[in-house]
Every structure is written in structure tokens, then in C-alpha cells.
């Protein structure tokens, strides 16, 4: 009876005891743990085989390159190699925190991320809800396809289009000049810079971002809607009491994942939009890493700042996951 495919039913007490036993085996390092692991592998060998490509991917492309982080504690010169370069300990970290500008880099990063979470993050959710309410299926499909298109346009093109319509001879520049009596310098005012970045991101990625929420919405039991309609619930009530709760865990999951990349602003989009006049707003940690590492050839300094960024990101993911658990959500893990 007790085969792998069909585990026998256990009572609640037995189940808890089994869980305790597994946890003990999992967390110990005694022979019991290894024996059990081997038994698991033997039993589910085909499933483990399925896991193999993913495992190899992570080892080759994610774990092995981590050795490269060693260079953030060295004065790395490529010709001397990782082993031959001078060991300098925490010099680069100290240098970064001693330089008066690190607060500007961190501040710019956090402001841009916060703006992105507040203004960009809800955009795909709202759009997905709107799409979900559409009655005509053909129209909905057409609209979805059109909304995905901007995602496939290179950011270089997006920035070029922006330059054309927001530049001083562009239509929007001229229009605001007419309406307000004075122009808004979209491309050079550091106060407008972040809004431009957020605006471009919303334009480009909102449509694509709806995919995951639309997928979550398909799981909502249509009987619930029918029952609610019978009870006299309007559209807004159905949205509030059925749709939103159904995708809540997806939203929380996405938010936790987003927390892990709070310090990731990307650099390509920013350096394309940056110039001498708005540079103060565009200097984020990612831009710093790019400028030091690739433009300036300071490989060690750049990877030290990159490493620091990753450490903070891990802390943010773990703590937001904890908060999600505390609020009764399943969270990320």
C-alpha cells in the first residue's frame, strides 16, 4: 500500500510526528540524514533527473562565479589573476563609506526604487483587473497583444523616442510650454528625471507585467462570482471580495521578490537618460558599479560595491518574507 505514488493516509497526530521526524532528519547531519536522503533519491530518481539541468545551471552560472567575489577584497589586476593580486581586505568597503558621495548613490537608488514600488508596481495589477472585467473576449485578446508590444522594444529605442517628443523641439515640450507659459525641461531637469524613468518603465513594462496576474485570475472559481451576483453584489463588490483576495498571495509574492531588487535600478536605462545636467539624480549604485568597473577599470572597487548591494538585498528578502509570514501569507518559502 505505502508506495511512493500513493502515501497512506495518516491521522493528524501521526502526521505531526512524521513531520517532526522528517525535520529532525533533515536538520541533523548524522548518518540518519544521509541514509534518508539517499533513499529519497533512489525512490524518486526520475524526479531528481528532472531537477538535474536546473541544478547544473545554478552551479555553473550562479555558484561557481561567486568565487569571483574574492576580487572585492583584493586590488585585482586581471593580468596577475585572482590568486596573484594583492590582498587588501576591506579597503574598498571602507573607501566607499568614507567617500562623501555614497549617501547620494544610496539615496538616489532608494528614492527611485520607492517611486517604482509606489507607482509602477500597482500598474500591472490594475491593468490586469481591468482586462479581467472585459466582456468581449476577442477585443480583450487583441488589447493584450498590443499591450505586450512595448516590452519587446529596446530601451534604447524608447529613450530615442522620448528625446524626440520631449526635447525642446518635441511636441510635448511645445505643448507644455503653451499650456504653462514656461517649458518643463524634461530631459535636463534633475527633478523631472525620476518621473521620466518611472513613466518610461510604466509605458514599457505594464502590459507585460499583467501576465502573471492574469494567470492568477484564471484560477478564481467562477461559481463564486455567480453566487455573489445572486446575492446582489455589484461589480466593485465582486472585485473587492472575490478577485482581490484570490490574487492576494500572488501580489505578496511579487512584492517580496521586488524587495529583493530594491537596490537594483539597472544602469542601461539610467545612463541613456543621464546627462551633465541631471546626473545628480541618475547616480544610483548600479550606475556606480558600471562607471567604476567598466568605464574606469576599477574592477575590485566595483565588485565590492556590488557585493555590498547583494548582501543588503538578501537581508531585505528574508525580512520581508518574515513580515509576510507574520501577516498570515504563505510568502516566498
Amino acid at each position: 500500500m505505502s508506495t511512493a505514488a500513493e502515501p497512506k493516509r495518516l491521522s493528524k497526530r501521526e502526521q505531526r510526528a512524521e513531520e517532526r521526524r522528517i525535520r529532525k532528519a533533515m536538520h541533523g547531519t548524522g548518518p540518519e540524514y544521509w541514509r534518508r536522503l539517499w533513499a529519497d533519491i533512489k525512490r524518486d530518481k526520475w524526479l531528481f533527473l528532472l531537477l538535474l539541468p536546473g541544478l547544473i545551471y545554478f552551479i555553473v552560472f550562479k555558484y561557481l562565479p561567486m568565487w569571483g567575489l574574492v576580487i572585492s577584497f583584493e586590488n585585482y589586476v586581471p593580468f596577475s589573476g585572482v590568486l596573484g593580486s594583492e590582498w587588501v581586505g576591506l579597503k574598498w568597503f571602507q573607501y566607499f563609506f568614507r567617500s562623501p558621495s555614497w549617501t547620494r548613490y544610496l539615496g538616489n537608488t532608494l528614492i527611485l526604487s520607492l517611486m517604482s514600488i509606489v507607482f509602477y508596481f500597482p500598474a500591472p495589477i490594475i491593468l490586469a483587473l481591468l482586462l479581467n472585467e472585459m466582456q468581449s473576449l476577442r477585443y480583450k485578446k487583441l488589447l493584450q497583444t498590443l499591450l505586450y508590444v512595448p516590452h519587446f522594444i529596446s530601451i534604447v529605442i524608447v529613450v530615442s523616442i522620448t528625446f524626440v517628443i520631449f526635447g525642446s523641439s518635441g511636441i510635448i515640450y511645445r505643448l507644455t510650454e503653451q499650456l504653462l507659459g514656461q517649458p518643463i525641461k524634461y530631459l535636463s531637469d534633475p527633478n523631472v528625471f525620476r518621473w521620466m524613468i518611472i513613466g518610461q518603465t510604466i509605458w514599457k513594462e505594464t502590459g507585460w507585467g499583467t501576465i502573471i496576474f492574469l494567470a492568477a485570475l484564471t484560477n478564481v472559481d467562477t461559481q463564486l462570482y455567480e453566487a455573489a451576483m445572486v446575492d446582489g453584489a455589484g461589480r466593485l463588490r465582486r472585485l473587492w471580495h472575490i478577485t482581490l483576495p484570490a490574487i492576494r498571495s500572488t501580489i505578496v509574492l511579487m512584492l517580496i521578490l521586488r524587495m529583493g531588487s530594491v537596490l537594483d535600478t539597472g544602469y542601461d536605462h539610467l545612463i541613456l537618460m543621464a546627462n551633465a545636467l541631471n546626473r545628480n539624480a541618475s547616480q544610483t549604485l548600479d550606475v556606480f558599479v558600471y562607471e567604476q568597473g567598466i568605464k574606469n577599470g576599477q574592477y575590485s572597487y566595483a565588485s565590492a560595491v556590488g557585493l555590498m548591494k547583494s548582501v543588503i538585498s538578501v537581508i531585505l528578502v528574508v525580512s520581508s518574507n518574515k513580515i509576510a509570514h507574520a501577516l498570515g501569507e504563505p510568502g516566498l518559502y
Binding site: S80, L187, S188, A276, R279, G297, Y299
Partner: protein
Amino acid sequence: MKKLISLFLALVMVLSMASFAAAEEPFELTVLLPDFYSTEDFQTENNPVLDAIEAATGVRLKVTFAANSEYGNTINTTLADPSEKQPMVISLTDARGTSIINSARAGAFWDLTDFVKDAENYPYLAAGPEGVYNNVSVDGRIYGIYRSRAYPRAGIYYRSDIAKEAGIEKEPETIEELTALAEALAAYGKEHDAYALNMVSYTAGTISIITCAFGAPNTWGIDAEGNIYPAHEDPAYLEGLKWLRHLYEIGGINPDFVTIDSTNWDSIERTSKAYMRFDCLDNCYRQQEWFETNEGVTDQIFAMIPGLKKADGSITIWPQNPGFAGEVVVTKAVKEADLPKVVKFLDWCNGPEGQMLLNWGVQDVTYWLDEDGYRLAAPADGSDVTAQIHLIQHSLNQLGMNVPGDLCIPAKLTALRQEYNDFNSTYGQYAVTNPCYPFVSETYVAFGSMLDQIISDAAVQYISMQIDEDGLRAAWQQWSDEGGAMITEEYNAAYHASLGE
């Protein structure tokens, strides 16, 4: 014994035969060069220029071109992978980058010090003055052959025909006259949808030319007490910025100039969207010749001003470069046994034959001669060969070092080319050099480019009226706090040490 000797001789003969046979196989030399025609193709097979180089030297060039605008990035990523696959010879546009100096110190490049002093075997390389070699040296060793450039080269040029229409006949000789010209061009431009001064996102040259015209030093100066100080601390520097700010305020500069890529610099002038430019003066005769070829212009419509008189009658000009622009290095991808061969090739590149092939290519394919023996850039029948030249010649001139000076067949001197040549000899004495060029500041090597950006960004913000004088001074203070003060200190120490104090 005799037997042994004859055996030895036989062996030597066989070996020399073998090496002779090997010499027939071309030596493949991989080269990395900056590319000024990155949107166009380069012909690698059956390229008459590469074939001619191979016939003359036995070296087959395998060239990798990388876009000039991103060349610094390419160099840094190339140096990050020191392997056999690295290019053997790299043309560097900046000899003082962090990764360049670090790589040189770590031994990524061959030490060429002994080669460039060997006048017997490498006559063209040894012809270069020691002073210039010192400027590209690292810790007293020479790792690269400098790429020689005319000196001083920079100045102001403008559309003289437009100036006449705007009511200015006389070529400006003082700053006041330049201001009058700029204001007249700005007023004229307002009616013709154009601007007086052609400015783009690359502003370093423009700012240096105007600040030096007011009397500021070139990047670093030496004050009355004999100490090194940064150019922006000189009152004349602010005067220069104020001049540009005034021109911006009256609408003489495109308000969007920071967003315009420097690749558009020429086309702005060619479409008459701006009338004046502060840049290398060789562009002046090039633009004139472009208008002659493409717009059928016959009159001289450009004029150049190499230097302006200050109130006290003195002239200072920014020299654009210290006599060279970057260097050519040999990486360790070249085996030690092949090194003399590679250096010999670089020496040949500096001779008349090499210079001609690299800069102008093959006669009747990429350049032509008129009946007097002058070089022509296009055949006499006037057919358009630009695409053909770009396909074959591309940016091969970037490998040219021209250490012993220009040994190419000269082009016929137009009035403007003549003026340019005269200017280089007449105004050379007024050029202000950067006194810190031979010194290495560790802080500058590490963080220089970011610090430079603080100064140049602040200048642009001031010109664009985004910040006032207080904002400018705050940026200078920031520069000082973030390492500028340390650089000044290090340069001073090196400077005083060089004086033997």
C-alpha cells in the same frame, strides 16, 4: 671534430631553411583599433591595403574595430581577459586610464624601453623625443609607442559668410570682438532657426578653449608661489564660464546641447544649424572642403581664430593635446620570441611606406595624385569614392603613430590648410601645457574620471543656468572633498620632487 662542425653547419642550414620557409607564411598580427566608421563594413578579404602591408612586411593584420565612443569600455573589458586570445597590439586613445596603468605595472604589456632607444634597429621609433616618451611612461618604463598628434591644434572657427551677413566683417582679435561676433551670430541665428555656438554633450574642449583664452591654465596651473593648483581655482576659469553662460542666456547655444551626441557635431554645421565651434582647427578646412564638394560652395565660408589677445595684449591658447593622443601597446599575447618582429613592424608603420599605407592606403584605390604629385582624397574625375575608401581604409589610421612626424605625400595646400599649418608654427609658443602630465597621482589614477566629471558637470550646469556661482563653488568643494585635494597634494609632491626640492 670536423665531423661535428659539419654536422652543426648542416643543422644550421636546415634550421635557416626552415625559418625561411616559415617567413613565407605571413605572421598573423591581431590588432584592436578604435572605429570612427562603426556603422560601416570593413573589407577583411582581398583588401588591397592589408595585402600591400603583407607584401611589404610579411605581417597579415587581423583587425578588430571597436566603436570610438565606447572605446574605453572595450579596453577595460579586453584587459579584463588576459589570454592568448587578447589582441597582440592595442591602440589606446588614453594612455593614463586606471586599468592601463595597473595592467602595465602588472606586466600585461611588453616593456619597450630598450627597443625605442635602439636607433640602429628601430630608427623610426627612436626618432621620437625622449620627453614625449616620458609622458607615456609608467614608473620610468615605456610600455607603449605614443600616437603623435599636431600641437597645438585647438582654436575657434566660424562661418565668415554668415558673420558678414550679421554685420561683422573683421576677424576677431580680442575677447570683446569675439563677444560681439557671438552676439551678432546669436541674433542672426534667432531669425534662421540656428544657434551661434555649436555645442554638444562633449564639452571639455569648448570649455578649455574659452577658459584658456581668458588666461586660465590647462587643467593644472602653477601659482605665484610655485605650487600646483587646479584650473577651476583660477578666476579666469570662471570668466570663461560666464562668457558661455551669457551666450546661453541670449539664446546663442542650443538649450538641449547636453543631450546631443558628439557624433552630430559635424552635421549641425553642415546643415547650418550653428555657426561657430571651439574645437580642433583641422575641422575648419575639412568643413570648408565638405561644403565645396557637397554644396558646390566656391568661396571661402569659414575663418579660424587660433588665439585671442587679452586686455594686456598677451595670448594663451589651449593646445588640445600634449603632442600625442594615447599610445600603441604590445600585449603578452605576443610570444617573447616574436616580440622583435612585432616591434620591427611597429617601426615600419612609422616609416614613410607604413605611414602612407595606414593613413591613406593604396594609390588609385583610396588616394590619388594630381599632375604635380600632390595627394588627392578623390579621383580627378570627381566621382564619389567615400564608401569605397571607408570599406577598405576604415579607421586603419588609428594604428598610425607617426613618431618621426608626418612623412606622407602632402596634399595641395588650400588657403585654410596653409593657415592651419602656419598657425601651428606661429602660435605654438602660446600653448599652455598641463604641467602635471608627466606625473602619476595614485588618487587620480583610481578616481580621476569621476572627479573630472564633477568639475565638468558643474561647469555645464552653470552654463545652462541651472546653478549659480554658489552652486559652482559647492561642486568644486565636493571635488576637493572627494579626492581633489589629495590629487593636488600628490601632484605638488611629485612636481617639487622633480625640481629637486
